[in-house]
Amino acid sequence: MTEHSEVMQEQTHAHGGAHVHRDDEGSKMAMWLFLFTELLLFGGLFLLYGAYRFEYADGFKVAAADMNSFIGAINTIILLTSSLSVALSIAAIQRNQKKLTMAMLWFTILCGLAFLVNKYFEWSHEIHNGIYPGGPALENMSNGEVIYFGLYYVMTGLHGLHVIVGLIFIGFIMVFISRDKITSTNFQKLENAGLYWHLVDVIWIFLFPLFYLLH
């Protein structure tokens, strides 16, 4: 009873997020719901991919032969590793190892940047070869190939955008950690950043075989 009415009293004074009780479970739920919207955003594109792959199986194969599956595989490993480091950072903060947490997040950011650099080289290589929407190389290609590259740019582009957003998200979280706003008893924000980063990873897990391993 006593403990309880204290809680309620606190509620009475609190307003608009000024002095509120925390609800980590609710915060996590919101993050998951947000991930669903991301999933379905990409879902529309995956559906298009599936449909056109079905319609233009040959064109897709021809187009995919151009892709460098080695770079793709490297990028996959990079993202998987960054996922590991985010997961480890959460485990570290739970154990109150702030230094390790920060190190893991720095490592994650490095991985993210490496991924983007790789993507940059890949894209510029293709653009250099005239392969881009409306580019000269597409003129002589079949419909299937044109659509393959259209989807390739849109999907990896949107994914790259998510990598960037994820990096900024993690950057903010690191500021919070350094200011002890995120601690071993209050780390839902970090957990949410991790969830987001893992989703970015999961999407790549599907993009990789779909665009690079289609021989």
Partner: protein, 563 residues
């Protein structure tokens, strides 16, 4: 505690916080103030779109050019549709009255994420500004219809990009509101408020929110692809590059069919609030009504193909979608029958909100039942893309959700503003609206079956009489609506003060002052029974004072509530 009580005597309308004057609204994270800000914005766009509707009717008064050129007409119906769908009917009830009433009805002080809530409002405004902007720049607003079908939307030189961008942004506003509501309903219910003690409006919002979260992203990406297609020609929707226009239609309707249930479910929720209040009796079949909301939402995901029966979709697909379409009628019927049964052996207090609800049941049934004509393959192939469809969706959208929006404004008017309107005038206005509505839209059914295609600037002579009749109906409707808004507006300025519970409602919002104080409750109430019980209290408003240990007794209930 003394401090808290004091703060609670000031209504949310008068409260002066950190920011004063207009900033106190624009920066407020209070769910009630945000709800009112939505109301203002939404009403403005509603008026704009209605005016466009009346202009279309004027154009159709005579064959050939009456007041505008064909290209203007095309932009007008596009803008009418886009504004009505994305700026009015989808946000109207959830964002205005959901925001306002949901926390109060479940016994919470605010939504789960108040700042996110404000952010959604700003997103809404950005989307709205983009839509308005498209009027004035470049070649003028989109002329594609609200469906943005490719390849026309890729080729049109009008401002399709801006308009789709507007819809895109509005989609995200809608998603965030839905997300906020789902978490609020899961996490913030008062002690003892189990799932089956929630008001049915909350159930309606819950189902709606799930559609918002799980369907809206699909239209987001689809519209983004149209923009990309226009800028860069990526080919996914452009048949010249091998793209498949029918695939676009799939993606569009994957969202836009579930969206029609975003429009109607909150309205149905309000029906379930108003009926027991004015019947002075528990609602009939509470659980069935609650579950049918989820049922409608769920089946709603499976029927989008009924918009594509003549698109060249495979025959198998047409048959499957037709069959699935008919299944939506079942949970909707369950609701209708339970509502009517609620009136049985009740003690009915006739009043404007109830009158609107009766109008709703009649008009929405017409709309829904003609939806079945559209769901059946043979008949749809004849009447699709004709005025029959236009009639159907005005009956369900305007006659269903629109009329319920009016009902909602009347029902919660005293609570929101703490004032009363003139009951007699409200009833007269409602009568005019119902008559005008049917004169305006019923001829559409007849024309449609005769073969009058929709989105036609001009028409063949055999349709002239019906078009004239319908235009006359639009004038009757306009007068009714002006009358209704005038009455509400007068009530707002000059109306008598409203009591805490003028209708004898049983849900929690009728237990707090009108208008509610800033934090809704000075103490979180404890719930002990169902939402529509009239003969005994089912809430303990001051559990602290009465020494109720909310932690002790209904422990099992708490656990269930925490899910």
């Amino acid at each position: 505690m003394a401090n808290g009580t004091l703060a609670n005597e000031v209504s949310y309308l008068e409260y002066q916080g950190k920011h004063k004057g207009i900033m106190g609204w624009l920066l407020s994270v209070d769910h009630k103030r945000i709800g009112l800000m939505y109301l203002m914005a939404i009403l403005i766009f509603f008026f704009v779109a209605m005016t466009l509707g009346v202009l279309m009717r004027l154009e159709m008064l005579t064959p050939g050019e009456t007041i505008m050129k064909p290209s203007t007409y095309n932009s007008v119906f596009t803008l009418h549709g886009v504004i009505m769908v994305f700026l009015f009917i989808i946000p109207a009830i959830p964002a205005v009255f959901g925001n306002f009433m949901l926390p109060i009805q479940i016994g919470a002080k605010d939504v789960a994420f108040p700042r996110l809530n404000l952010f959604s409002w700003y997103l809404y405004m950005v989307g709205a500004v983009l839509a308005v902007f498209s009027l004035f720049v470049g070649e003028g607003p989109a002329d594609t219809g609200w469906t943005f079908y490719v390849p026309y939307s890729i080729r049109s030189a009008q401002n399709v990009t801006l308009t789709t961008m507007a819809a895109f942004v509005l989609g995200f506003s809608s998603i965030l509101t839905g997300l906020n509501f789902v978490v609020t309903i899961h996490r913030l219910r008062a002690p003892g408020m189990t799932w089956f003690r929630m008001p049915l409006f909350v159930w309606g919002l819950y189902a709606t929110s799930w559609i918002q979260v799980l369907a809206t992203p699909v239209i987001g990406i689809t519209l983004a692809l149209i923009m990309l297609e226009r800028f860069m020609g990526i080919g996914v929707f452009d048949p010249a590059l091998g793209g498949d226009p029918i695939l676009y239609q799939h993606l569009f309707w994957i969202y836009s069919h579930p969206a029609v249930y975003i429009m109607i479910l909150p309205a149905m929720g309000v029906v379930s609030e108003i009926l027991p209040t004015f019947s002075r009796k528990d609602i009939f079949g509470y659980k069935q009504i609650a579950i049918s909301s989820l049922g409608i939402a769920l089946i709603g995901y499976l029927v989008w193909g009924h918009h594509m029966f003549v698109s060249g979709m495979s025959d198998t697909s047409r048959i499957v979608f037709s069959l699935l379409t008919f299944l939506v009628a079942i949970p909707t019927g369950v609701k209708i029958f339970n509502w009517v049964a609620t009136l049985y052996k009740a003690s009915i207090k006739f009043s404007a909100p109830l009158y609107y609800v009766l109008g709703f049941i009649f008009i929405f049934s017409i709309g829904g039942l003609t939806g079945l004509v559209l769901g059946a393959l043979a008949t749809d192939i004849h009447v699709t893309d004709t005025y029959f469809v236009v009639a159907h969706f005005h009956y369900v959208m305007f006659g269903g959700m629109g009329i319920m929006f009016f009902a909602t404004m009347h029902y919660w008017f005293p609570k929101v503003f703490g004032k009363m309107y003139n009951e007699k005038i409200a009833v007269i206005a409602c009568t005019i609206i119902i008559i005008g509505f049917n004169v305006l839209y019923f001829p559409f059914f007849i024309m449609g079956y005769m073969g009058m295609p929709r989105r036609y600037y001009d028409y063949l002579p055999q349709f002239e009489g019906w078009h004239i009749l319908s235009t006359v109906g639009s004038w009757i409707l306009v007068s009714g609506i002006v009358f209704m808004f005038g009455n509400l507006f007068y009530g707002l300025l000059k109306g008598p003060k409203a009591a805490v519970n003028p209708w004898g409602g049983t849900t929690l919002e009728w237990k707090v002052p009108s208008p509610p104080p800033l934090e809704n409750f000075d103490e979180i109430p404890v719930v002990t029974g169902g939402p529509y019980v009239h003969d005994k209290p089912t809430y303990i408003m001051h559990p602290g004072k009465e020494g109720i240990n909310t932690n002790g007794g209904p422990k099992t209930i708490n656990q269930e509530a925490a899910l």
